[in-house]
């Protein structure tokens, strides 16, 4: 038994940082999965460079993974970290600003040689010059200890170097009292046919744990009790995985085959990877030759009677816009998932942003309204993808589902839904040839019939030219065009009758309402909760439907004296709210490729409340 003292803590944030080749994402993911199994609530933030293996030791090659976990509800990956694991000098330099005063730094001293220091721009070794005085620094020669643990195995020095992340992981497992078994089981699966590699990694993992246990360096370890979450069965899930599963669930519910046409692009590719695995669910994935073929093949599949979907990000959406207009015109179901990233152009491929909202709402030639839904948290991507599919199938329309890099790569525990509790999706194919008109509309939804090839007697033609009302024939008459433009717009507007009303978290009336959408949910919630705990009149509204808006949105907004709209863009939702509802909403905008820290929102709220 360890003689060391164990402290009970409610929550902690750890950041693993190293070279992009150091396996920090893997280390973070393993720590996350183990922590999830222990029943903590958690939220993660992977932060990695666009370069696959940037030059070793450089500042731009630093890859980080932050996890915030606790025995209480966790809404964000943490504004700051309490513990920083830095595998080299560059990792320390890049991440030190996010460490709280008095926080702990665990460094691999081998990553602080002269070359490392020079590459990261340190004039003096920060481990020696006293600049880290306000932190608790634990110096461990991880490289040397890893080498020692493996010395009799005759492995290449390259391999030994690559496995040092498992030493760091082992140490952190010891420090936060996590079991090794889940990672050992994972290694068993991953390297089932490479027993020497599996054994070596397990040995390094255990060496890290034992180092924590036996060495005098660490004086204490920590216990984080399970969180009191809603009862049920949980799993950990990333946003991209949840999106993939949401699409599968919708197709399953609708009794349709799922077709994904997609072109690889960061950070959306994981959805393509995930769905490609599920051939036994008859999911058809098609890695197309480009973004345009991704969406157009999906439109073709929808025409033929599948749930056609496409996934992309940033510049990929721009390439799909012409085809989106076609989908509007031919009125076929289609789901377009945009895992937003920093733009414009190639922008910041691996960083998050919310700057595609106006593009989703308006970014097409002609009057081409499209429903837009957005996910609020990583696990909420499941519900968003499902809802996008539901709307697409019921209203025969393309739907844009917005997530972002932060949501897509981030993860959190997810209360697994009961399939029977999911909303109904019951599309039907038109089969009656009597008086069939391809653009005859349902009275309630205004959606046109879905008459798929293979149905006897319903042969008809559709296309991108303007349609005559009801018949769908090509028609250039002025009055018909205006009529059809308004008809297509009204079809989308009527979806407002079929979505939940806007529901305020907190008091429905008061001084300040913080309105958000997308991945800012957790940061806003934390900030609003702190103000509410202090007795301030602040409420939160998080929009999941961005077109159409919930019917009561104008009414809800009018109940507050001030409205704050935090966004990871230069002010987009705020623009729409101001123009549509004529409310004096104010934006809080951060455009750094990073999510909000909740304190940033908290301070803005504080500043605004001073005026009332």
């Amino acid at each position: 038994m360890s003689a060391k003292h164990t402290h009970n803590i409610d929550e902690v944030t750890i950041r693993f940082a190293g070279d992009s080749g150091d396996g920090m994402q893997l280390t973070g993911t393993q720590f996350t999965n183990t922590t999830a199994i222990l029943g903590n609530d958690l939220s993660t933030l992977p932060d990695y460079p666009a370069e696959i293996r940037a030059p070793q030791g450089t500042l731009f090659g630093v890859s980080g993974f932050q996890i915030h976990f606790g025995s209480t509800e966790i809404h964000t990956p943490g504004d700051t970290c309490d513990v920083l694991v830095a595998m080299n000098a560059a990792a320390l330099k890049v991440n030190l600003h996010s460490l709280i005063d008095g926080g702990s730094i665990i460094v691999n001293t081998d990553g602080f040689n002269d070359k490392n220091l020079k590459l990261s721009g340190y004039e003096a070794n920060p481990l020696r010059d006293g600049s880290l005085e306000k932190y608790r620094v634990y110096e461990v020669d991880i490289t040397k200890l890893t080498t020692a643990a493996l010395q009799d195995l005759n492995l290449s020095s390259k391999f030994v170097d690559r496995s040092k992340n498992f030493f760091a992981l082992g140490m952190m497992y010891w420090m936060y009292n996590r079991p090794l078994e889940p990672t050992i089981a994972w290694l068993g699966e991953k390297f089932g046919n490479k027993p020497d590699i599996r054994e070596a990694n397990i040995r390094v993992l255990k060496a890290g744990w034992n180092f924590g246990e036996t060495t005098e360096i660490f004086k204490a370890r920590y216990e984080v009790a399970p969180a009191k979450l809603k009862p049920g069965t949980y799993r950990n899930i990333t946003g991209n995985q949840a999106t993939a599963w949401g699409l599968m669930a919708a197709a399953h519910q609708a009794k349709l085959d799922l077709f994904l046409g997609s072109y690889p692009i960061t950070p959306a590719s994981e959805i393509l990877h995930e769905l490609s695995y599920y051939k036994h669910f008859r999911v058809k994935t098609f890695q197309a030759e480009d973004e345009i073929a991704g969406i157009t093949s999906a439109i073709g599949a929808s025409f033929a009677g599948a749930l056609g979907t496409t996934t992309t990000s940033g510049p990929g959406v721009a390439l799909k816009t012409e085809a989106l207009g076609l989908a509007v015109m031919v009125e076929l179901p289609l789901v377009v998932v945009n895992v937003q990233r920093g733009g414009p152009s190639t922008g910041l491929p691996t960083k998050t942003e919310q700057a595609d909202l106006l593009q989703a709402l308006y970014g097409r030639n002609g009057e081409a309204p499209i429903p837009v839904v957005a996910a609020a948290t990583p696990s909420d991507c499941f519900a968003a993808a499902f809802e996008a599919s539901r709307i697409a199938l019921k209203y025969m329309t393309p739907v844009i589902c917005l997530t972002d890099g932060y949501l897509g790569n981030g993860s959190e525990p997810w209360l697994i839904p009961d399939m029977n509790s999911l909303p109904d999706i019951a599309p039907t194919f038109h089969t009656n040839p009597d008086n069939f008109l391809p653009y005859e509309r349902d009275e309630l939804t205004l959606s046109r019939p879905w008459a798929i090839p293979g149905t006897p007697g319903l042969e008809h033609r559709i296309g991108g030219l303007e349609k005559q009302h009801r018949t769908g024939n090509i028609n250039y008459e002025p009055a018909n065009h205006e009529f059809m433009i308004k008809m297509r717009a009204e079809k989308i507007e009527r979806i407002a009758n079929d979505i939940p009303l806007a529901e305020v978290e907190g008091d429905p009336k008061g001084t300040l309402l913080v309105v958000g959408w997308g991945g800012t949910y957790g940061a806003i919630k934390s900030a609003v909760m702190r103000h509410r705990a202090a007795g301030h009149s602040v409420s939160q509204l998080h929009l999941k439907h961005l077109n159409p808006f919930p019917k009561n949105l104008g009414e809800v907004l009018s109940q507050f004296k001030a409205i704050l709209v935090p966004e990871i863009n230069n002010g987009q939702l705020v623009k729409v709210l101001r123009s549509k509802y004529l409310v004096p909403a104010i934006g809080l905008n951060k455009i750094q490729g990073l999510p909000f820290r909740s304190v940033e929102i908290e301070l803005k709220i504080e500043e605004m409340l001073k005026n009332y």
């Binding site: 029943g39 098609f286 030759e289 073709g300 033929a304 009677g305 599309p427 090839p453 293979g454 296309g463």
Partner: protein, 350 residues
């Protein structure tokens, strides 16, 4: 699990076996091509061969992009999709992958298929998805009123190339062969019999069929192919290639094509020096030969080859996709969504 599409397939199989005439494939829409356009003949021949295919018309889909040729689906009494410029091949790919039971056709042109849609065409051909592509080649942009196209000849004077085109000419057949197509043909709108026979062969071929049709635009590029299509010249300017037969042409059938190394040359069969035994014998299954034949295009000392350049077998993409799905189901069982949600690491909170 039975899907909604399975119910449609059931309806389709219950429908009576078709006994059509060409009229059954005409729609109620006014045909809007210019009078005298070569497209009329292609439409007529397509409508004529459809009854022979034995496919119910509700099982047939025509997909097109943008351009004069792309109006084609409106005039075929089948399912049709007039889509966006250059993307018909990608849309058709989605249709066929979702529904391998359908007979899928793409109608495109030299601008739609070879220029804006060139990328998709390459990938359709190499994947060998079972789609029949009819590329109407009139060597000009018609719908936008007469700019040069990828197949326009070098030096072509058009509104956008008033000093003559400096864009080297594409050869659709060579493009297709280079993209690893499995069926490549060239035919003529003004030769209905030949056109019909090629369309039937294209329909029968398993995998992507690529058919270039020389089609006259009598408004913006009149007579572009007259030397290959008109009575007084065509015998000496065209060599009709047929599988297993030597390449003989000429009004008196007194000329042939001989291979000198890899280079085709015209030889006379009249002067006793060469006989039919010395000539190149066409083999549709020879990919190397298809390169040589396609490359004969635009060589003024050689006749223009017309016919089926290449017809080889290779598994289609959709067949391979279906096979992978079946193998996955055999290995892992039919997917169960509730099980999937609870797979891997889960934990209970009570």
């Amino acid at each position: 699990m039975s899907t909604l599409v399975d119910q449609i397939k059931q309806l389709s199989s219950n429908a009576d076996a078709p006994k059509y005439t060409s009229k059954d494939f005409a729609t109620d829409q006014d045909v809007r091509w210019c009078p005298g356009c070569g497209d009329y003949s292609i439409l007529a021949q397509a409508q004529r061969i459809m009854p022979d295919l034995g496919i119910p018309k509700h099982q047939i889909v025509f997909v097109s992009g943008i351009g004069c040729s792309s109006r084609f689906p409106y005039y075929m009494e089948t399912y049709g999709f007039h889509s966006i410029h250059g993307r018909a091949t990608a849309i058709a790919s989605g249709v066929k992958l979702a529904r391998p039971d359908l007979s899928v056709w793409v109608v495109t042109g030299d601008g739609d298929g070879m220029s804006i849609g060139g990328n998709h065409l390459i990938h359709l051909l190499r994947r060998n998805i079972d789609v029949n592509v009819l590329l109407f080649n009139n060597q000009i942009y018609g719908l936008t009123k007469g700019q040069y196209s990828p197949t326009s000849e070098l030096g072509k004077i058009t509104k956008s190339t008033p000093h003559g085109s400096i864009h080297y000419t594409s050869i659709p057949g060579a493009f297709a062969v280079g993209a690893s197509a499995t069926f490549v043909a060239r035919t003529l709108a003004r030769d209905p019999k030949h056109l019909q026979s090629v369309l039937k062969r294209a329909a029968e071929h398993m995998g992507t069929s690529f058919v270039e049709v020389y089609q006259n635009c009598n408004v913006f590029n009149d007579g572009a192919f007259f030397q290959f299509t008109e009575k007084d010249t065509k015998d000496d300017t065209v060599v009709f290639i047929e599988h297993g037969k030597p390449l003989i042409f000429g009004k008196q059938r007194d000329k042939g094509i001989r291979l000198n190394g890899f280079t085709p040359e015209v030889v006379s069969l009249a002067d006793g020096k060469y006989s039919a035994n010395d000539l190149l014998v066409h083999n549709e299954q020879d990919t190397t030969l298809s390169v040589i034949l396609a490359d004969m295009t635009y060589k003024s000392h050689l006749p223009r080859p017309v016919g089926i350049f290449l017809s080889i077998e290779r598994p289609s993409y959709e067949a391979e996709m279906a096979r992978q799905i079946e193998v996955a189901i055999q290995k892992r069982g039919e997917g169960d969504f509730s099980k999937l949600l609870h797979s891997g690491d889960t934990w209970e909170i009570s």
